[in-house]
């Protein structure tokens, strides 16, 4: 049994109440994804990997809520347990939203939501799929991203950079086409720093000109080559659509990684 009497996650995982955030900047991150910069009046700080809930209200009172990962670097907690907004500081929080065809909320956020508009937000939320330099430095990390599953992993890489942390990281990023890549310039900058981060991108549908690798799903032998040996006991974070996460987690287990060190976050309908 692993349950403990005290709620360790309470310090950072307890969401504060709903508050109004304002869109202060936004840009296209790819032809089908948009980064939103939200100004939040009371932000208790967040850890890389956490998400926020957004709530939208239609004129007839109908409401829709969705969760989106924070893509910007962690901000240090300004209040002891995150439960009270008193003392929490204003902050700018970046989310990246992938447009889903027919999506009720994502199409609003990518196509309609305009700078200056307000939206209800609460968070940060989630204490499992997180990485923090204070807590986790020194243990090598494998990040595996499928599509917009890169967003919370990018927050981890940006947090590592801002902390000046040199924990060895390897990122394996699977996207359909070159134009679907997110954070192209920033990821190139991160990789060019040569400070212990290796980045491998695989394309499943079409590849850039001159690519040595044809289009296709990430193979087990590639994961073995680009990830870490199981013997060094890395922390593995896998995020993406269910089919990707299932395949990657299964490959990692078959390569000898302890399931307890594989953390997953999934979105989208089941592939089967």
């Amino acid at each position: 049994m692993t349950e403990a009497p005290a709620r360790l996650g309470a310090r950072y995982a307890r969401p504060s109440g709903w508050q109004i955030a304002t869109l202060v900047d936004a840009w296209a991150e790819s032809p089908s994804a948009r980064t939103l910069v939200l100004e939040v009046a009371h932000w208790p700080g967040h850890m890389a990997g956490q998400h926020v809930d957004l709530r939208l209200t239609a004129p007839d009172g109908y409401r829709a809520e969705r969760s989106y990962s924070v893509g910007s670097a962690a901000t240090r907690s300004t209040v002891p347990d995150g439960s009270a907004l008193d003392g929490a500081a204003p902050a700018r929080v970046e989310l990246t939203v992938q447009r889903v065809a027919g999506g009720e909320v994502s199409t609003y956020l990518t196509d309609v939501f305009a700078v200056g508009d307000a939206i209800e937000l609460r968070g940060p939320i989630g204490g499992w799929f997180v990485w923090s330099p204070e807590r986790d430095a020194g243990t090598p990390v494998l990040l595996a991203a499928g599509g917009s599953g890169l967003v919370p992993l990018m927050a981890m890489l940006r947090t590592r950079r801002e902390a000046g942390d040199r924990t060895p990281f390897r990122l394996v990023y699977s996207v359909r086409r070159p134009e679907d890549r997110l954070y192209v310039a920033d990821l190139d900058r991160l990789a060019a720093a040569h400070d212990g981060l290796d980045v491998q991108v695989v394309y499943t549908r079409s590849v850039p000109l001159g690519s040595m690798r044809g289009p296709g799903r990430l193979e087990r032998r590639e994961l073995a080559a680009w990830g870490w040996p199981a013997e060094i006991e890395p922390a593995c974070f896998v995020c993406g659509p269910t089919g990707f996460v299932e395949a990657l987690a299964r490959q990692l287990v078959s390569l000898g990684h302890d399931p307890a060190r594989i953390r997953t976050e999934r979105f989208g309908p089941a592939a089967d």
């Binding site: 049994m1 692993t2 349950e3 403990a4 009497p5 709620r7 360790l8 996650g9 309470a10 995982a13 307890r14 969401p15 109440g17 709903w18 508050q19 109004i20 709530r55 939208l56 209200t57 239609a58 004129p59 109908y62 409401r63 829709a64 809520e65 969705r66 969760s67 439960s83 009720e104 609003y108 309609v112 939501f113 508009d117 307000a118 939206i119 209800e120 939320i125 989630g126 204490g127 499992w128 799929f129 269910t242 299932e246 987690a249 299964r250 990692l252 287990v253 399931p259 307890a260 594989i262 953390r263 997953t264 999934r266 979105f267 989208g268 309908p269 089941a270 089967d272």
Partner: protein, 199 residues
């Protein structure tokens, strides 16, 4: 607190169905779990029910299958906001499994292969509200959905319906399971929108 979201209209509202607050209708069956999917063999599968005095009663797969089976058709609600209507299952009611267990405990910790845990009041497991389910939509429950067997407690958010279930530990005092320790609600009633601690 409420604020209009300019230009947001949302999907056509579902008619004639009851949707808890903040949920939307999903026709697929999304998968959510915190780690890899364990692959389990029914030959070695077992379910242990342990009381607060340490008495354990176990069922093998064959013993579970030999018990009277229910076929509930229920709506399910995931805390990530999808709801799926009219799902059909086959499994054994916890009323059947717990009937002969001697306990005065008010709380239960449900444990899974792979280490997942979730806590519930015992009252939420009794009275025809919870099952050990092994069949979904007429077919053996797939591993990604918790097969060979998962807890099914459809009136609570679906993280309470532990996949790959293999133990129920009865407790006089409530303790928190995996997501509950990470800030999610101890009860998780979708109709009261109890997503997180404090809701």
């Amino acid at each position: 607190m409420s604020t209009l979201t300019p230009g947001f209209h949302g999907r056509p509202r579902p008619q004639g169905v009851a949707l808890p607050p903040g949920q939307y209708v999903e026709t697929g069956f999304p998968v959510l779990s915190a780690g890899p999917t364990p692959r389990l063999d029914t030959a070695s599968w077992r379910l242990d029910v342990t009381t607060e005095t340490g008495v354990t009663r176990s069922w093998s797969w064959a013993e579970l299958m030999a018990l009277p089976q229910d076929e509930p058709t229920v709506d399910i609600h995931c805390v990530t906001r999808w709801s799926k209507f009219g799902t059909t299952w086959r499994g054994v009611s916890l009323d059947m499994l717990l009937a002969e267990v001697e306990s005065t405990a008010d709380f239960a910790m449900v444990g899974s292969y792979g280490g997942y845990t979730t806590n519930l009041p015992v009252s939420e497991l009794l009275g025809g509200k919870a099952w050990i389910a092994h069949t979904f939509d007429g077919a053996p429950l797939q591993p990604v959905h918790g097969g060979p067997a998962r807890l099914l407690v459809p009136h609570l958010y679906f993280w309470k319906s532990a996949k790959w279930v293999n133990s129920i530990t009865l407790m006089p005092m409530d303790r928190q399971g995996f997501w509950e320790r990470l800030g999610y609600h101890d009860l998780g009633d979708p109709w009261r929108e109890q997503r997180y601690q404090g809701d």
